[in-house]
Homo-oligomer: 230 residues x 2
Amino acid sequence: MVNVGKRSGRPRAGEERLSREAILTAALRIVDDEGIDALTMRRLAATLQVNPMSLYHHLPNKAAVLAGLAELVFAGLELPDPGDAVPWDEQLKEAARAYRNGLRQHPNLALQVLSDTSAVSDVVVVTMEPFYRALDRAGLEPRQIFEAANTLIDFIHGFSLGEASVRAETFELAPDLLTRVRALPADKAPTLKRIVGGLGVEGLAYDFDGGFESGLSTLTAGIAATARRR
Amino acid sequence: MVNVGKRSGRPRAGEERLSREAILTAALRIVDDEGIDALTMRRLAATLQVNPMSLYHHLPNKAAVLAGLAELVFAGLELPDPGDAVPWDEQLKEAARAYRNGLRQHPNLALQVLSDTSAVSDVVVVTMEPFYRALDRAGLEPRQIFEAANTLIDFIHGFSLGEASVRAETFELAPDLLTRVRALPADKAPTLKRIVGGLGVEGLAYDFDGGFESGLSTLTAGIAATARRR
DNA sequence: CTCCTAATCCATACGTTGTACGATTATGTA
DNA sequence: TACATAATCGTACAACGTATGGATTAGGAG
């Protein structure tokens, strides 16, 4: 079969249409714009105006594309470090807020990023440096720093997972969850029902920002207690 | 085409080969044994000795199967409630441990369970009752109880996600992560490098149980501080 | 008992997906 | 110039989810 419209074969120097980065960038745009299910190798190749099989010379398979996207998101993270200008707990919170915000940049990718452990490379660990700095200033020992950082990171991951899931769904069930709780038989969850009763009307819409800050305060308070105990 | 081997048509009462539960049970076994990717409608039908299309009379599509699995796992959760026999923080920890263990029962399903918000139904909220009971005993106000419970749950989710991901992967990168950190240039992450230096050799293998307990202690300490502040 | 309806299951088929294989063409090195 | 290598393309295949429609038969209505 003769090639009529497009050129085939190896392109001239400087005319390569593809590269790992170009592919990943295009993939990220597709995922951000249309969701993770819209990302197929064919669709990706089409937006790059390239034959689907050409992608496989730069990435071994689709899993590698997804892993590369997770890596890309992590690489884009930059946690600020206000340093000694603020108390250690504020330093810690500021880095945590930035981490959460970074994960929120690409909600359609959250699940992939949070579950892809191959993305847990040197890059990621190094990114967390501000966490270790702040915890060091708090007066923790090495092992305590390590564990406290992991606890904080786990909280952020769990929080981000919930946040991303709610945004991804049709947002139908969540809003009226509390009203349905009110309708539960009293013997099933008495404490829960009492709590909901004491929440007031404004409690019906969950406040993600407030929830996150509350978690941060609880964690820093707990870490402070550990530091005080030596 | 005449049906020779198998029976066809509507089965006699009580002789139905399929049901929502039977399908989900078989699906759960496949996922547990061979991973989430092994679950296809054809494979599922084969293990039930049934035509693939028969499944669609009990579940509308594959997404419903996955959602049903998440629901199944949640329904199987039972958080113990030692009640007033122990201090509130131990009561809280005990429920948290049970929650984590419940999620660990089906590691191949963790991602699905943790990200499927449609599973966040009445059942789930009611399951969390021991959390609310313990936090109530701690002396928190309704809104604080709500927020503290969410923080704890988010931590458990994040922790479980990491735990499941590591188990699911080939377990190649994680073990030598710390050794690679040691090899990093000193100016990239000085605090991290110092912490790792102070961890000792046994720190190279991450201790999930220890990490979880550490997180629980940090959280309960933080909650106690909130309770003390009124 | 007879007819109708609805439940259950099956056979076939379609469009889409990831990607294996081989051919084609340019580059860089010997 | 000769040749290994790299980048792209064309074709093809197996597996997937599931739409459609038909076959069989249990159970309810008359």
